[in-house]
């Protein structure tokens, strides 16, 4: 039932603009995988999604399902279901008729429709609500109905365009878990668009981070934290510390002194990426001196602002650690936590 989806050099330039909104994206989504397309608003992720669904014609490039181009197949025949940001329940139809819409469009008879609708209502944990009207349900319930409506036709691909962004925090978690559960149950190839990196990490098998119309990095969730491809990726995932220096062999020369690297990197100039939670206090391997500027108690941890040479560092330590005023302390960066990225994209 599910298929492998391939995007080949997919490009979209909107009429009246010169900059491409989507700039030659290529990626493969394996059968049954749930891929998160992550990026800030306006990065082209929704445009990519619409091209996948057939709602927008690409300027160039190809979309392939199981190796066959679907570029000439209109949206209604693509076997792609999509859940949007808003539930978009048709206001003049009952909940049951909304869920049955896809089957009705495919000419399925009334009796089968009714049976399938009640199955779908079970699946989204809202049994017996068929007779209600849109507007009589809460936002979270409506979004679940929207999901049921998308899944009823047993599509080969499920596209989710920020379906959680309009829900409040608790509902969001509930709905996120439900989506993950149903997706695993049905084994349907899915793409989940979001601007929330936490959501992407928790939900997806794989993440594609999009910035300015291009995929910056495509990989496992932990890669984005531990081995970001560029400074922009690292920043998007909350990393604030970048130390310029030079790689030679397995060591890195900078104002922090000479640090041993845990991975191989091309020799020459580079930026050392230090995540906030990577720095530890006290002497040991890869240690260096820094001056504490200020600290902030945050309950589960303490945030520390410090300077080392002309570099500002921001990191978190366990709550037991206290520092008063300006003082020089010894910090260390475990070898395994080191990662160096190229310098050239500092503008982003």
């Amino acid at each position: 039932m599910s298929v492998t989806v391939e995007l080949v050099e997919l490009t979209k330039i909107y009429k009246g603009t010169t900059d491409p909104s989507v700039d030659g994206i290529s990626m493969t989504i394996e059968k049954g995988q749930l891929v998160a397309m992550l990026g800030p608003s306006g990065c082209g992720k929704t445009t990519t999604m619409k091209m996948l669904a057939g709602l927008l014609d690409p300027t160039a490039g190809d979309v392939r399902f199981d190796g066959e181009s679907v570029i000439d197949i209109p949206a209604e025949k693509r076997q792609v279901a999509m859940v949007f940001q808003k539930p978009l329940l048709f206001p003049h139809m009952s909940i049951g008729d909304n869920v049955a819409f896809g089957l009705r469009m495919r000419g399925v008879d009334k009796k089968t429709r009714k049976k399938r609708v009640s199955e779908m209502m079970e699946l989204v944990r809202l049994p017996g609500m068929e007779e209600r009207r849109p507007g009589q349900l809460s936002g979270g319930q409506e979004q679940r109905i929207s999901l049921a409506r998308a899944l009823i036709t047993e599509p080969e691909i499920l596209l989710l365009d920020e379906p959680l962004s309009q829900l409040d925090a608790n509902l969001r978690i509930e709905m996120r878990d439900l989506i993950r559960q149903i997706q695993a149950e049905l084994g349907i190839t899915s793409v989940f668009v979001t601007h929330d990196q936490e959501e992407a990490v928790m939900l997806a098998d794989r993440i594609a981070l999009m910035l300015a119309g291009r995929i910056q990095q495509d990989g496992l969730p932990q890669d984005f934290y531990e081995q970001p491809a560029t400074q922009a990726v690292a920043r998007f995932f909350g990393t604030k510390n970048f130390v310029p220096g030079t790689v030679s062999g397995m060591s890195f020369e900078s104002v922090l002194g000479t640090l041993q690297l845990g991975h191989e990197h091309p020799a020459g100039e580079g930026l050392l990426v230090i995540r906030q939670e990577a720095i530890e206090i006290g002497p040991g391997e890869n240690s260096f001196e820094a001056t504490v500027q200020r600290t902030m108690y945050l309950g589960t941890h303490v945030r520390v602002w410090a300077t080392a040479g002309d570099v500002e560092l921001q990191f978190t330590v366990p709550p037991g650690v206290r520092h008063e005023g300006e003082q020089t302390i010894t910090l260390r960066l475990p070898m395994a936590q080191t990662w160096v990225i190229p310098v050239e994209d500092r503008i982003l």
Binding site: G54, L55, E76, F90, R132, R133
Partner: protein, 307 residues
Amino acid sequence: MSDEQNVTGGQRNITGETGVMPPDTRLDVEDPPEAIPGPKAKRHIGRYVLVVLMCFLLLLPFVPLIFWSISHRWFFPTIIPDELSDRAWSYILSDRSGVVEGLLNSLVIAILVAVLAAAIGLSGGRALGLYRFRGKRIVELVLLAPVIVPAIAVSMGIQVMFIRYGLADTIPGVVLVHLIPTIPYVVLVLGAVFANYDTSYEEQARVLGANPLRVFLHVTFPAVLPGLIVAAFFAFLISWSEYIMTLLIGGGIVVTLPLLLFDFVGSDPSVAAALSLFFIAPAIVLMVLTSRYLSGDQSAVGGIGRA
């Protein structure tokens, strides 16, 4: 909130009551019972008086018409006609008055104008309400022109054209010319409807397997229907009361009710009064039938909103 709804939903299923409870009845249930007469009751009386007053003001002009239509003689100081007569009514209901033919002509023309104007308004309103394009301001100005330019000024020119194309003195010709003053209204009404319309619903329907035609039938059309009805209603009324253009283009061969009415105004007030009542009736019936679309929940700008 959602829990509470779950509970009420469950109960309804157990007691076997059939499903849908309209949102407004829900709100009524939550209102406290009106047992205590207080400021609320006073407000009710105030509203009651207002409604009666409005009805009175709206209906008052019809009273003399009714009297005129059934009077034989009615001179100044008397409040009620001295002598009653069914002359006017039996005349307009007779074959020789041509009222039946005029009524049919008026109806056919107004219905055709309403349907055509609604169709034009649907596409024009969509373009103006949803899309930005070059020259949009000019298109809007041209659309409004018939409201600004007096009909009689252009009718002469149109008549010459229509004679050449054989449209003068025909019902199709009159329908076409009636479209001129109606299109601005329908396009503006539907433009406002579409300005408040979310096309994501159409995309949602597409990915659920609806081809463009079915998207229109199942999603767009029901969403804009209230606005469409209001627009068609305007078009009907404009066509229904059009006089000058019908006279010029119809050439006295296509006779509609306003033409008949004008013949008697001044010469025979009794017949004119009876005809007037005849003339007003369809408008009132239509107004009552479409009133729920003119205001409140179901109003023209409701439906699928961008909210």
